[in-house]
């Protein structure tokens, strides 16, 4: 295929440019083979698999609870969701109830993690457009979140916090107040962030009307999460297929509206992420206010042996629907675990969406899709 591409390029006087696997803005080890006429690309073909660790195969040899730490590695920027999706699928397979307090804790940590992940997402997008400072402002806030989560579960990146049947630790004393203090400082800082970059005219010029993905294409390519909502499709698993404690909370689903250009352009996806952080803040406040007392772990048998069956647990991760299709054959190990991740679809649309863009726009497209390599390859 590579050779075929080369031949075609030579005959058309086009240039083949290899972007990645080591490139500052591919966000991990992904490779894009760009066919282009100088700066203007004809198309960019993604080549993935550099981070393929065979997590799905590993799952087949591990007891159900032992697989949870591996799920952290599916999405290291938002590992809570990866834990949560797997735990949910196994709980559905076992048919057990999770205590309310555990569900609330799951929501709180998930939303904290969503803020952390989106901070990286929008910051990295600004960085790819050339503004380095907003990224580090995002990192600064994320550090505080990492500290909070570290205090809760002892890990800063791969949490292994949400387990089958509940969560691993209850809130330590005083963490509630710390989270509230963080939220109080975070909201004004988001406004500062907006003034710094979100309404910056150069950023708007770089993102608006660039890499437009219309709603039909987005649905067809299975885009999920902020990318789907950026194209104006009103779909959020938290609201539409409610799970965990989400039905208890009031929040808006942020949609792209063609804020400064066309509906579904890179700027819409950027804005949707910025707004979602504010919605997450709302959810966390509500969850902290209504946090019920009680157990944090459901009653589980010593050895998890779900009966034969299939379950699909999907959560609205920072990168959209993160689903685990777990197939049980009645033993204590899953027969098959299929992980459905948002970045996988987001990468697959690059070839379609990159036609006719410039190299600088491809960088914007990849950043606006908020692709993360381990989720693609698993």
């Amino acid at each position: 295929m590579e050779n075929a591409l080369n031949k075609q390029a030579v005959s058309d006087d086009l240039m083949i440019l290899n972007m990645g696997p080591q490139h500052p803005s591919t966000h991990g080890v992904i490779r894009f083979v760009i066919t282009g006429d100088g700066e203007v690309m004809q198309r960019a073909v993604p080549h993935v698999g550099y981070l393929h660790r065979g997590i799905e195969k590993l799952a087949e040899g591990l007891p159900y609870p032992s697989f949870v730490p591996f799920t952290d590695r599916v999405d290291y920027l938002a590992a809570m969701f990866a834990n949560h999706g797997y735990a949910m699928a196994v709980e559905r397979l076992l048919g057990i109830e999770v205590p309310r307090r555990a569900e609330y804790l799951r929501v709180i940590v998930s939303e904290l993690n969503r803020i952390a992940s989106h901070l990286i997402g929008v910051g990295a997008m600004a960085m790819d457009i050339g503004a380095f400072t907003p990224f580090l402002h995002g990192i600064r806030e994320r550090e505080k979140l990492n500290d909070i989560i570290e205090e809760l579960c002892g890990a800063r990146l791969t949490y292994n916090y949400i387990r089958v049947g509940g969560v691993s630790f209850d809130f330590p004393q005083g963490l509630d107040a710390k989270i509230r203090a963080f939220l109080d400082t975070f909201e004004p800082l988001m406004e500062e962030f907006d003034r710094l970059i979100t309404v910056n005219e150069i950023l708007v010029k770089r993102c608006a009307n660039v890499a437009v993905i219309d709603a039909e294409t987005a649905k067809s390519y299975g885009l999920v999460g902020p990318n789907l909502r950026g194209s104006g499709v009103d779909w959020d698993l938290r609201r539409d297929l409610p799970y965990s404690a989400y039905p208890d909370f009031e929040f808006n689903v942020c949609l792209g509206r063609g804020f400064r250009g066309t509906l579904g352009d890179a700027y819409d996806r950027f804005i949707v992420r910025v707004q979602e952080m504010q919605e997450s803040v709302k959810i966390i406040r509500q969850a902290l206010d209504g946090l019920p007392e009680g157990e944090i772990k459901g009653k589980l048998p010593r050895k998890l042996k779900p009966a034969k069956g299939e379950a699909y647990g999907a959560v609205e991760s920072a990168r959209g629907e993160l689903g685990y299709h777990v197939i049980s054959d009645g033993t204590d190990k899953p027969y098959r675990v299929k992980i459905r991740a948002g970045s996988f679809n987001a990468t697959s649309i690059v070839e379609h969406a990159s036609r006719g863009l410039m190299i600088a726009d491809l960088v914007v497209l990849i950043a606006s899709l908020d692709v993360i390599a381990p989720e693609i390859d698993r």
């Binding site: 065979g54 649905k219 299975g222 539409d240 379950a311 699909y312 629907e321 689903g323 299709h325």
Partner: protein, 169 residues
């Protein structure tokens, strides 16, 4: 629309192309409901599920390929945005020569999902526009997600296994 009704509609439309459907389990209400169809009818059924307004499964969440030792099952997990529902459409394939029509024309995302299954399970998708390995290198031997998969001892003279460094202590 309830899953039973979907199955009923499918049976009404496709007759005996539709196979057995999952029975609801009262102890486990949130299992993924699935229905088997004949492999050669998969594009028609998917087209029906996608286009029919009462179903409108516009979102193909994923395609799960599983090696069941006697056969390979594909499960098309699909979501309906309008009706807020997730179901699985399943097909059973011959393990020695698994082959099925692609559903790429219905959901563009099937392109990569099918490439992944071709890569990891060796299922051939007829009519696929770009059937190459996705995750493994192009010259990899074997399909790792098959249950009887044996890794080659080396890949381009790089050993694929190594001694356990803790073994000698």
């Amino acid at each position: 629309m309830h899953f039973d009704e979907i199955v009923a509609r499918l049976r009404e439309r496709f007759g005996d192309l539709v196979g057995e459907a999952d029975e609801p389990d009262p102890a486990r209400p949130s299992l993924l409901p699935g229905v088997f169809v004949r492999a050669d009818s998969v594009t028609d059924v998917c087209r029906f599920l996608h286009d029919e307004p009462a179903m409108a499964f516009e979102h193909l969440s994923c395609i799960t390929g599983t090696d069941f030792k006697d056969s390979i099952h594909l499960a098309y997990v699909m979501t309906s945005y309008v009706h807020r529902q997730v179901i699985a459409l399943k097909v059973k394939l011959d393990r020695d020569d698994p082959s099925i029509r692609t559903v790429e024309e219905i959901w563009a995302t099937a392109n990569w999902n099918e490439r992944e299954i071709y890569d990891l399970l060796g299922v051939y998708f007829e009519g696929h526009s770009d059937l190459r390995r996705l995750l493994m290198p192009d010259d990899w031997v074997g399909h790792p997600l098959r249950k009887d998969y044996q890794e080659q001892p080396d890949y381009h003279e790089i050993p694929t296994t190594r001694e356990n460094p803790l073994g000698k202590y």
